[in-house]
Symmetry: C2
Subunit: 393 residues, 2 copies
């Protein structure tokens, strides 16, 4: 993972939207180590499997075996159990937004599948499964809010527990041909199922669900048909139950003084991959089209006057910045107007403002998404942008 | 490095103060990989030495040799040289605030010397040494602003180049007995020298500088005497010159079309260690005394009424939060007044507000640093805190 200035600005905005919504469901932010001692990961019996698979591991200078965190269940459970818990302490939830490492054989350049990536991982701790189930649905709703704010449609999809659990879990999948996952979507109801678990669902009419080739397949929930689509997994949520609390003996004292195991959930959003999914789904043949909420800057201000419009450029920039609008100014003297306009489209900031010999006292405002162009007075253009940005904050 | 919620709030504030000042000296923020390919680090000949010393290194699943970034000169030079540079592109500066890894034999628990820590590293690129020298002084000034905003005195100290360069460099050293460094301070002028290089300085009067035992030593700059002190290195700045641009062939084309080597500087601040230095220097026998600028919350609001003051607590909290004041509320019903007061001192938030049976319609305001206590009306207390915070923003 390497972020240059523009990408990092996007990343910080995606992070902040996720942070907002995790705080809203009571998550407390922490930051755990990437260097993880073997002993901790042996407690739940994952060290052997994970180090054979995607966990980077090595001996340090003093001979200790160390892994690089590719997930943080073990250290989170360990923190949660530092003090004895009572039923009054539950529920609570801890999360971090941190770099994960995976020794990924299918790693790709770019944002979708890297060996090092940013992830938000939330872990919740409950007195019983009812409370876990309730919180699970709250987090699912928080995720819907996150993806809405990111302008990134993501389908709630039934999936397997992967390496984390043996029950079903849910993924949030963004439909795009750039995706590596295949999901089955009902064309009538909301059902969506990852192909890893489609074989578990009874076929209704047509070919059996999950059978090779064939189709269309009947939706097991309604009379619709299942259609396949390529998708990027941008988030996932799991009910862990007592999978980790048991080996770590993470217990609490209930109202009757009895010791009981804590029930856990965990909830991930791939921050880097989410950025990749935004890029894959927000573009046209001229370039990117950033959603306002995560655009590296809100407006791209182009000076095509070869210098004599410099005062107007400063004035517009200053008015916008005073109102909290982030402006990227392109007043390079040795670059042609055509090149600047093409680059602005490629770059894809939500609003393009142009000052040229033709605009007189006015400024040309172009909305990247709709392509609409208007000649407006400076105050009118500024007001338009401020108004549009307000809704994303 | 493991940050629980309170520590992480402090960390984010320290980060933001550093980010502000780095942006002010034209730094552009990026974020580089921790996983570093051996080949890149062989270019400047550092792989062999560093992997024998503090650089974690291992083979990944496909047999490639990888190191964990403990500094980022190599990848930064590599990014800087991605496009051909002209003299018009210079100077520029890139920085990141990112986790570093060092296989540190003297690692300690806590914030001062860990195997994994947060660091700000800035790298500057110049056409000539004059420009580098000018920028070096600008960054030194930016560092002074950072430490001033952090309320952390740090002495500008002459030091060796360490593993980075063979010239003198400068450290910012915070005086405290918890420090691992020994520095020599003149009691008359501003001179401060790290003991690693004190032997290079000619002795004036008294015993020779750098000799074992003995002293007081004469200041080589004035008629003062050098005194030793323990200190924590919280920042450092280096002139790299062409040390990295040469092996990476990082060149630019000057105004006459000639190809020349880029001159470089690098500038670090240990974010985690700076937090440790703040903790070491901001406490008394009752606990911590957070500077307003980095306190996890500005105010600690204690409800000692056992419930009937709840409305007043909400009102104060809401008035403060609307004005941007961060408030931690302690209204735990089953904790004694004495325990809450003791914990508030230990915690060390800048302002403590107490609602109790004795305060009536008013609120008791205590300033942690001075210990001053006043009984004020709610609006007066709120106004006092807002006023104090304004100066740190």
């Amino acid at each position: 993972m390497q972020m240059l200035p523009m990408g990092l600005r996007v990343q910080r905005k995606v992070e902040q939207i996720i942070r907002d919504e995790m705080n809203r469901v009571g998550g407390q932010e922490v930051l755990l180590s990437s260097l993880q001692p073997k002993e901790l990961w042996q407690t739940a019996g994952r060290w052997e499997d994970l180090t054979k698979d995607v966990m980077y591991h090595f001996k340090d200078g003093s001979g200790r075996e160390v892994g690089l965190g590719m997930s943080h269940e073990e250290p989170m459970v360990s923190i949660a159990g530092e003090k004895p818990l009572s039923y009054k302490d539950l529920p609570f939830a801890l999360y971090q937004i941190a770099t994960k490492f995976r020794d990924e054989p299918r790693a790709k350049a770019g944002l979708l599948r890297g060996r090092e990536f940013l992830m938000k991982d939330l872990y919740s701790f409950h007195a019983n499964t009812e409370d876990l189930n309730k919180y699970y649905d709250e987090v699912a709703e928080a995720y819907r809010t996150v993806y809405k704010r990111l302008d990134l449609p993501a389908v709630y999809t039934i999936s397997s527990g992967g390496v984390f659990t043996t029950e079903y879990s849910h993924e949030f999948q963004t439909l795009t041909d750039a995706g590596e996952d295949t999901i089955y979507l009902c064309n009538k109801c909301q059902l969506a199922v990852n192909d890893e678990v489609i074989a578990d669902f009874p076929a209704v009419g047509g070919s059996p669900a999950g059978s090779a080739g064939g189709g269309p397949w009947g939706c097991p929930e309604c009379h619709g048909e299942l259609e396949t689509a390529k998708a990027i997994e941008v988030g996932n949520i799991f009910k862990l139950g007592t999978k980790y609390s048991k080996p770590f003996n993470l217990t609490y004292t209930d109202a009757d003084g009895q010791s009981k195991l804590v029930e856990m959930g965990c909830y991930g959003i791939g921050v880097t991959r989410t950025m990749g999914a935004i890029v894959e789904t927000h573009n046209d043949d001229r370039g990117l089209i950033w959603p306002i909420s995560v655009a590296p800057y809100h407006a791209h201000l182009l000076d095509l006057t070869r210098g004599e419009g410099a005062d107007r450029v400063r004035e517009i920039q200053s008015q916008l910045e005073q109102a909290g609008v982030e402006v990227l100014v392109d007043d390079r003297p040795d670059v042609s107007a055509g090149e600047k306009l093409t680059e602005a489209d490629l770059f894809g900031l939500p609003f393009r403002l142009v000052i040229s010999a033709k605009t007189g006292e006015n400024v040309e405002l172009k909305e990247r998404a709709s392509g609409e162009v208007e000649l407006l007075s400076i105050p009118a253009a500024v007001a338009r942008i401020i108004e549009a940005i307000k809704f994303t904050q």
